[in-house]
């Protein structure tokens, strides 16, 4: 951050002009982010509906959550999503980054190609995989050809959730790969050389040199991917359908927010209470990951 003493001299300006510069940004962020945030919290204590202003009901919404089976299903699925997706997204993109790190001919092409799923919109990705994992789709055709037989990826509650996780991981590979590539570029090669001289093989070097060197990036990837995994919506919505698959068993929390809070009969107050839970859990996830990082450093 550049803050030298000479900065004080750049001061000739109207006292209002900084605020004019920042005004559009403040306006948008204030009206469409901060105000909605405050009203989410306020609404969570009311029985507001889309067309009815609603009244203060205290903790009634939160008490209702405790007995709402759908809420627990959503919380379970969102949590499982984090547990399933995050380890894969911390590890696999690192391996992929190591694979594309060396500057061999054509590597630029491979790097770009591996990034394609990130570029493609999530809806496109979701629909492609719905087609691939269909009962009559390509994956099942291959499985049948090799004698495994057809698998109901999209009809079984657990397989569907697993498939959605796989799609999230598939789409995240390229994104986190690039983050790891930048981190790997900063690993001093002397470390690898020293380890090689000491007779460490590639696997040994991976654990003794690479992993410690990119550890803070792993924490960053863990934080980013856990927060976004907990808020998962599109993949599951597209693969399981708006109602969350068989008997709604694949509903995630954000799907529940969308389903409860929208439409003319939307329970805005109740959906806001679920939103508050989503917010609190994401903040806790962030803090947990960051704390784990700090602990290991000391």
């Amino acid at each position: 951050m550049a803050s030298s003493s000479s900065t004080a001299r750049v001061r000739r300006q109207l006292p209002t002009s900084p605020w004019l510069f920042a005004a559009p940004g403040f306006l948008v962020v204030g009206v469409f982010i901060l105000y909605p945030f405050v009203s989410t919290v306020v609404n969570s204590f009311t029985d507001r509906r889309t067309l009815i202003p609603g009244e203060f009901v205290g903790l009634a919404n939160f008490r209702e959550l405790l007995h709402d089976e759908m809420f627990w299903i959503g919380l379970r699925n969102s949590t499982l999503y984090v547990l399933g997706v995050v380890p894969a997204l911390v590890l696999l993109p690192l391996l992929l980054a190591l694979l594309v790190q060396k500057n061999i001919p054509g590597i630029t092409f491979f790097r770009s190609a591996f990034y394609t799923p990130v570029v493609a919109s999530i809806v496109v990705v979701g629909l492609i995989w719905v087609w691939l994992l269909d009962e009559r789709g390509l994956v099942n055709a291959v499985l049948e050809a090799i004698g495994v037989g057809r698998v109901g990826f999209l009809s079984d509650q657990w397989l569907l959730l697993l498939s959605a996780m796989a799609v999230t991981v598939w789409r995240g590979l390229g994104y986190y790969m690039i983050i790891y590539l930048a981190a790997l570029a900063n690993v001093p090669r002397e470390l690898h050389e020293a380890a090689s001289v000491d007779g460490a093989g590639p696997v040994r070097r991976f654990f003794t040199v690479t992993v410690p060197a990119v550890r803070s990036t792993m924490v960053l990837v863990g934080a980013l991917s856990s927060v976004s995994a907990f808020k998962v919506f599109s993949e599951v919505y597209l693969m399981a359908g708006p109602d969350g698959g068989p008997a709604g068993e694949d509903t995630t929390l954000v799907m529940l927010v969308q389903r409860t809070g929208t439409g003319l009969t939307g329970r805005v107050g109740y959906a806001s209470a679920i939103s508050v839970v989503v917010f609190v859990v994401t903040v806790v996830l962030m803090l947990l990951v960051l704390r784990a990082d700090r602990k290991e450093e000391t």
């Binding site: 951050m1 550049a2 030298s4 000479s6 001299r9 000739r12 109207l14 900084p18 510069f21 920042a22 559009p24 940004g25 403040f26 948008v28 962020v29 009206v31 469409f32 982010i33 105000y35 909605p36 989410t40 889309t50 694979l99 060396k102 061999i104 001919p105 590597i107 491979f110 790097r111 770009s112 190609a113 990034y115 394609t116 570029v119 919109s121 809806v123 492609i128 691939l132 055709a141 590979l173 994104y175 690039i178 983050i179 930048a182 981190a183 900063n186 090669r189 808020k231 919506f233 359908g241 954000v254 927010v257 969308q258 929208t262 805005v268 806001s272 939103s275 989503v278 917010f279 994401t282």
Partner: protein
């Protein structure tokens, strides 16, 4: 040429000609790579390539298969027997796909313009102008960045209702039209500029607006490009917010239209496939043209955390 050349500028060329005249492949440290290791590397690369790009090609292939062709054949046929663009015409007959694409384009371009202008202005104010409350102003944007969009989506919906903007494309653009993240990205870019270049203009009597427009802004074109690319992709790809904000099918963006197509006509995969290709092709083209800025941007973002 490496996509990360800015990060690792000192690399020797990937291939060097040795004295014997034989081409040898070397790694980034100039050491020779053994042939079997190289072969293994390419084998793995090709495997990952099949896994990441294969699904798109399969979708493209499906979209080109004619109505008489069996798309469920076992073993699967990877190349369409008699390639046809018929399905693309049929998508357009089924849903107004070009209107949806136009809506998406309007939203995406709107998002690019507002983000570039708004984030550059606010970023400059945060980084370069001196005033009381500057730290608080920065904090406001940091806090806004930390609020997950998914957790305020219902309140955004009611806010938009209060403003009478639901079910309009403007309503789709507004919540993300100056993202806090982009403001902070621009702030960092401006902070990294040396003060000296602005001081000269200051001594010459240039006011804040002139310094911003003539000197600071041209120096942060790279970051501005990154903001533009992310704003475009973010808006083009967004699903949850347009799904909530739009109810009138004539206003749908492409992502919502595709979901609608999938829901209504799930029985003909050729149509859905053609629709997804229409949605993804412009992005892949854009990405192919701008991939250099793109990777640099993602890399920079990661380094700065």
């Amino acid at each position: 040429m490496s996509v990360l050349e800015k990060v690792r500028p000192a690399e020797p060329p990937a291939t060097t000609r040795q004295r014997k005249g034989r081409r040898r492949i070397t790694d980034e440290h100039g050491r020779r790579i053994r042939v079997w290791e190289l072969a293994l590397r390419y084998l793995l690369l090709l495997a990952v390539l099949a896994l990441t790009v294969g699904p798109f090609l399969w979708q493209l292939s499906t979209s080109l298969k004619g109505p008489t062709e069996d798309i469920f054949s076992s073993p699967p046929k990877f190349l369409p027997g008699d390639p046809t663009l018929h399905n693309y015409r049929r998508v357009a007959d089924t849903i107004p796909v070009w209107d949806y694409a136009l809506n998406s384009l309007k939203v995406a371009v709107g998002n690019v313009v507002t983000n570039c202008v708004g984030a550059a202005l606010a970023g400059y104010a945060l980084a370069r102008l001196r005033y009381r409350g500057r730290k608080v102003a920065t904090l406001v944007f940091i806090l806004a960045m930390l609020v997950p969009a998914e957790s305020i989506i219902i309140a955004q919906f009611t806010t938009m209702r209060e403003l009478g903007l639901n079910n309009t494309l403007i309503g789709v653009v507004l919540p993300g039209c100056v993202s806090a993240m982009n403001v902070l990205l621009m702030r960092n870019a401006f902070l990294n500029l040396p003060y000296e270049i602005e001081e000269a203009a200051f001594v010459d009597g240039a006011n804040a607006w002139q310094r911003f427009l003539r000197i600071a802004l041209p120096s942060v074109k790279g970051t501005l490009a990154v903001v533009a690319i992310f704003a475009f992709m973010g808006a083009w790809d967004d699903f949850l917010w347009p799904l909530i904000a739009l109810s009138d099918p004539s206003k749908f963006t492409l992502t919502i239209g595709l979901n609608y197509l999938h829901g209504t006509f799930a029985n003909d995969e050729r149509l859905v496939a053609a629709g997804t290709i229409i949605a993804v092709a412009p992005l892949i083209a854009l990405f192919a043209c701008l991939q250099r800025y793109f990777f640099r941007g993602v890399g920079e973002g990661a380094v700065k955390g």
